[in-house]
């Protein structure tokens, strides 16, 4: 790469986060996993906890997340990231432990794990990426697939009579007493990305302050399996997903609110 001269009166306002490795991701062009990875990395950089952070990778498209985060990582069996995170956090309470899970991992095969981990009030943080489809396996219907949404396993659209209703994980987990901070955000436009970063930061701060379980659900896209262009997928999600999965906090204890307002 050619060297570029930076004029003296310019300051650096956006740089590659230290908490990401240089490795190029395998994600499809326009996949929002990359944005969410970067937000987590920026938050960990800002909190200065990279050296004592342990991430737990899921099964799904983000199964290779451990290649992309420049920190310690473990790979859990499908859906079992919260159980693994529980073990790691209890053995090493000084570590910052987070799980990164998709909707197939968290809302299907791993529903029991996440609900019990949240209900026990484990001091872990979960980043839940909801794109309403199974990405890695080829676009099958997920528990979070919208009613009427066409997937390879619901070719005429999700029929709620036979396939049931989409799972609202943020609301489900928000009612559990062990959960301290649960929110749903979206990375579908620039303001949404900025709000998501603030939410991820507060979730990690909740863990650092020992206030309880924290989870950020992030509405995301899968342009490949939705059969759309990357820009079109963001618009589709804004129009259809946000109305079905309302954004905002589903749980914020008084301690977390004080933490948020004190910052």
């Amino acid at each position: 790469m050619a060297t570029v001269e930076i004029p003296e009166d310019m300051e650096l306002v956006f740089k590659y986060p230290e908490s990401l490795t240089e490795r190029h991701t395998h994600y499809c062009p326009g996949c929002t996993h990359g944005i969410i990875h970067r937000l987590i990395a920026e938050v960990i950089d800002e909190l200065g906890v990279r050296e004592r952070t342990i991430g737990i990778a899921p099964v799904g498209c983000s199964v290779l997340a451990y290649y992309y985060f420049n920190m310690d990582f473990a790979e859990a069996a499908h859906g079992r990231a919260p159980a693994m995170a529980t073990g790691i956090k209890r053995v090493s309470p000084d570590r910052v432990v987070f799980t990164y899970q998709g909707d197939g991992d968290l809302a299907a095969i791993g529903t029991a794990e996440i609900i019990h981990a949240a209900n026990r009030g484990e001091l872990i943080t979960t980043i839940f990426v909801n794109n309403a489809i199974y990405g890695m396996t080829g676009g099958q219907m997920a528990p979070t697939t919208l009613p009427g949404q066409v997937t390879t396993s619901s070719p005429t659209g999700r029929d709620v009579e036979t396939a049931g209703w989409p799972m609202h994980m943020a609301e489900l987990i928000g009612i559990l007493p062990g959960a301290a901070y649960v929110t749903r955000q979206a990375v579908l436009d620039v303001p949404g990305i900025r709000r998501t970063k603030k939410a991820i930061k507060l979730a990690f701060q909740t863990q650092l302050a020992g206030l309880g379980f924290s989870m950020v659900e992030v509405l995301s896209t899968c342009n490949t399996n939705w059969h759309m262009g990357p820009v079109e997928a963001l618009e589709w999600a804004k129009e259809h997903m946000v109305s079905y999965y309302p954004l905002g906090d589903t749980k914020m204890t008084d301690e977390v609110r004080a933490l948020k307002e004190g910052k």
């Binding site: 310019m10 062009p29 620039v190 990357p230």
Partner: protein
């Protein structure tokens, strides 16, 4: 004199075009007739002088292609003194 400047790591780019869509001054486009190491048409700046350094491209980029610089705000006092 441009208010901002972006440096593009072309080989990270996958040509998804999310940045082209959000740039408020419309100075980004996907390269025509040229490809990066991955085989995608990388993003390029058409008018560097118009860049404001707002970093919206970098905020939405899933592949951390951009590094962004912005002109420092001059202290108000200096303007009064002059």
């Amino acid at each position: 004199m441009a208010k901002g400047m972006v440096i593009i790591d072309e080989d990270r780019c996958k040509g998804c075009g999310l940045c082209v869509n959000v740039c408020p001054v419309h100075i980004l486009r996907l390269a025509e007739g040229r490809f990066n190491a991955k085989g995608y048409r990388p993003v390029e700046v058409t008018d560097p002088e118009a860049c404001t350094g707002c970093a919206m491209c970098a905020t939405i980029c899933p592949d951390v292609v951009f590094t962004v610089y912005r002109q420092r705000r001059r202290p108000k006092q200096a303007a009064v003194a002059a």
